[in-house]
């Protein structure tokens, strides 16, 4: 049953950056886009199990810190080799200064 859970405060993630959020044995990445929106994806790269939180956000791309594979974090689409498999994304809502994600 999907549920909304609080992931962080809006001020916890700088613009054009991301943080890691762990919940229920799973790991997620929460993004703050350059235009101020929030997004959430799976926290691990689909190429190998590397945490994306150490990567670099450039515009709407997250670049993985291990082999520089890239995803569009808004859609999860794989954008640059060596990643070929899309990243799972999760719905996000902002309530006041809190960021919530809907997890399965």
């Amino acid at each position: 049953m999907p549920q909304w859970i609080r992931a962080c405060a809006t001020g916890d993630v700088e613009e054009e950056d991301l943080i890691r959020f762990d919940h229920g044995g799973a790991t997620y990445a929460i993004y703050h886009s350059p235009e101020g929106r929030f997004y959430a994806t799976a926290g691990l790269c689909t190429h190998e199990n590397v945490h994306l939180c150490d990567g670099l956000v450039m515009g709407h791309l997250i670049e993985c810190p291990k082999h520089n594979g890239q995803f569009d974090y808004r859609t999860g689409a794989a954008k640059r080799a060596p990643v070929c498999v899309d990243l799972r994304t999760y719905p996000v809502k902002v309530d006041g200064s809190d960021v919530f994600i809907e997890v399965p």
Partner: protein, 364 residues
């Protein structure tokens, strides 16, 4: 330890997977996120400047070589052209393959494709082999880019300074790839979705070499081959000289780049040709940092790394005797001291590799 089996299809690779040595979590020096973000920032400007300089010099040297062809005066022009073609292409291939040299993706891709052709690496295959090199750096049976295997094959190594083993390997492989896509070994690290691309790239390379050869035959001269193809041989020495220092004589089967990679201070010309990959521990630890920011990264983390070698000569003086020792004693490697205050090497992670250390060495 038993003899190392470097084949990607062999038992050492399978053992690395079983024991968790493959695809492991590697040691990283702590760097505040704010500093790291700043170091990772991309920019087109340094790489555009360097690329104009590189290709401009290549055109100039080739023009000089052609104009003076038939006289001894052409030799220095070809030697300079050769190093830019047969060595600078290696570092451009590398940095643009990571996608960090330029900020703009198409610029990385364009320079990557040109450099791959010049260095005689199938651009589709090698993107993946290099990813594996970063996942499993010097893990025997997993890393397809181990330059110096143990015991070191000195004849092959010396031949590499003239590109001989690589060229001998490249052309039959290019034909095989053209006819049937990646080989069985290549299929272990190239995803199936890319097999068609490997074949297409090989066909393009084959067509270019065939056209160059036809021009040489038509002109009854090796001049076209001096421009395309042969510089991979007569200009390879610089990238081999710098490349063997990356990991030569150091540990294998460890998951701390401070144990298996080497940083060497180099002169500005070599750093231009090599695009700052002399900061090799730094590059492996943080592959997201572009070449132009590596000196700054070095400053930020050098307190946690073994002291760098101060010159190419000093690094060779350190590495060469270690390689010679590995001839007699395959498990030997150089273990460099860490500075006071650095995080110690995790002996528990590396027991298999570090267990029988140089103390147990037989006398030379």
């Amino acid at each position: 330890m038993a003899r190392r089996e470097y084949s990607l299809l062999g038992p050492d690779g399978a053992r690395a997977v079983e024991t968790g040595l493959a695809a492991a979590e590697w040691y990283h020096t702590d760097v505040p996120r704010k500093v790291m973000k700043e170091l990772m920032q991309r920019s087109d400007q340094p790489a555009i400047r360097d690329t104009i300089l590189l290709y401009g010099c290549m055109v100039g040297f080739a023009a000089g070589g052609i104009a003076l062809w038939g006289t001894w005066w052409c030799v220095p022009f070809w030697l300079a052209y050769g190093v830019l073609y047969g060595s600078a292409s290696d570092s451009r291939w590398h940095e643009c393959g990571h996608g960090t040299a330029f900020k703009t993706a198409w610029m990385n891709n364009a320079v990557y494709e040109i450099a791959s052709f010049m260095i005689m690496r199938n651009s589709a295959t090698w993107r993946w082999s290099h990813a594996r090199h970063h996942t499993d750096t010097y893990i025997v049976g997993r890393d397809p880019e181990i330059a110096i295997m143990r015991p070191p094959a000195f004849v092959k190594l010396i031949g590499s300074f003239f590109g001989i083993p690589e060229v001998i390997d490249f052309f039959p492989r290019m034909i095989r790839n053209s006819l049937s896509g990646p080989t069985a070994e290549e299929r272990t690290f190239v995803p199936q979705s890319e097999w068609g691309k490997v074949q297409r790239v090989a066909l393009i390379y084959t067509a270019i070499y065939a056209a160059t050869l036809a021009a040489a035959i038509g002109m009854q001269s090796i001049l076209p081959l001096m421009v395309v193809g042969l510089p991979r041989i007569y200009g390879a020495w610089h990238h081999v000289m710098t490349g063997v220092l990356q990991h030569g004589g150091l540990a294998d089967n460890v998951i701390d780049h401070r144990l298996n990679s080497r940083t060497v201070y180099m002169n500005p010309v070599s750093r231009f040709v090599y695009w700052n990959m002399n900061y090799h521990v730094e590059h492996h630890m943080f592959p997201m940092v572009p070449y132009h920011a590596l000196p700054r990264l070095h400053e930020a983390i050098k307190h946690d790394l073994p002291a760098p070698n101060r010159s190419i000569v000093e690094a060779f003086a350190e590495m060469w005797p270690a390689l010679r020792r590995q001839l007699a004693y395959e498990d030997y490697f150089l273990r460099r001291d860490l500075p006071a205050g650095a995080k110690p090497y995790r002996e528990d992670f590396h027991r298999a590799a570090l267990g029988d250390m140089p103390d147990a060495l037989p006398a030379e």
